[in-house]
Amino acid sequence: MLIFSHWIIVFLLAPLFVGVIAKVKAFFAGKKGPSLFQPFFDLQRLFQKDSVYSRTTTWVFRAVPIICLAAVLLLALLVPLGPFKAPLQFTGDIFLAASILGLARFFMIIAALDTGYSFEGMGASREAFFSCLCEMILFMNFITLSLAQHSISLSSMIGGNLPLSWKLWGTVLILVVGSFFILILAENARIPIDDPDTHLELTMIHEVKILDHSGVDLGFLLYASAIKLFVFAGILIPIILPIEPVNKVMDMLIFLGGMLAVSIAVGIVESTTARLRLNRVNHLLLIAFALGFFGFVVKMWKG
């Protein structure tokens, strides 16, 4: 039952999360901006459209939207969402999370190469490169958190006695949060790394890979990326807001407030910074890695 409540939450709230970010960006640009529910309308429109497939493509191209969506739905089950505990939690589930994301990434890359044109190949190449750095950052933070919490299960790494940890090694957690926030921006193709709003540009990473998808497939992919952003934010919130559970309603409110805060933070970053030049992105990611590593060193120092 818990599984379905999780899925319902991510299905309902993930596009809304994207809508809030768009609203914040519109506010900073001095515009009214689209409705909060615009992502839902977009998805609905895509689900009603017919699809066009390239002659070059094979089954891989058609399978990718399904694999991506399934991967993020599985990922969602590993993360506690407010009052709802993670339905799937066991020692070592972080490897399941990382490798399922890896599987989706693998298929994403080969599907981009499947279209047989240079734009998609470009996106695939960039994705392959930046994901190497992202994976290092992810595991660096996992190591630090697991040392702090003495567990390698995602739920207890970001939950449990974190309030106590903030008192004991708040500095470590500040570094982890900073590093993880950059990771969220990078993994979900947000602005300093990638621009989610423009298509067809030579500078893009994520958007250019899905250039050839249309109709239902594109809808699946957009849904998947919205859910991925939501779930990553869901990992960050319990680290930032280590509030011990009071009751279900309060928990839900705290969770929603945290989500709102993260989406506003992402929106502010997107409105105030420019997208980095492509050969500077790896510096940003390396800084995030160095942050995580610094956190690990401080954790070891503090014992």
Partner: protein, 217 residues
Amino acid sequence: MTSWVDVICITVVFLSLIILSNYRVAAMIRIFAIQSFVLGLLPFFLHAFCISNRDVILGVVTMVLKAVLVPSILFWAIRHVSMRSEVKPIIGLSASIILGAMIIAGAFWVSLSLKLPGKPASDLILPCSLSTVLLGFMIMVTRTRAVTQVLGYLIMENGIFLFAVSLFDVMPVLIEMGILLDIFVAVFIMAIVVNHINEEFEKNPASVTFSKMGETF
């Protein structure tokens, strides 16, 4: 326990790392100003309940000098020298960041076996000051521009300041003030020297390579 001193320590080290990974001189100076400002906050948090006059003087002087005056002199220097805005590191920025991270780890490693005479306000002060000094050194070693050399030197000094503050009760405030004055004068002289080098080369347009050399030491 996590204290504000801890937070300031890691912020200082992190900002040095950011300076190391930056490629624009102006941005480097700006981040240095932020770092100095954060460092200037440190005396206010050292003695949580009784902020003495000494703390206030030290903090305010540091902020005014290093977060306002020194950066503006540096800005003045780079404006007048009409140099290219990007630094030319000897080793790449990516390698610098990785090396910087390793230097931090090394500083922590060394600090394990170093003992301080008194008990500092936070156990992070010693390794963080050591890391900052080493990172400043690294900036001096790997960057070729005159201004970046000075910046590296200033970051080193920031590291020493962090260390000195932990011995604050032992050390007279006069010495720290003297050091701050020295730095101010050093930066001032540097700015004038850089300016003169540039003027010399502009007067004597021997070759393009010579005028480029003016930007480096």
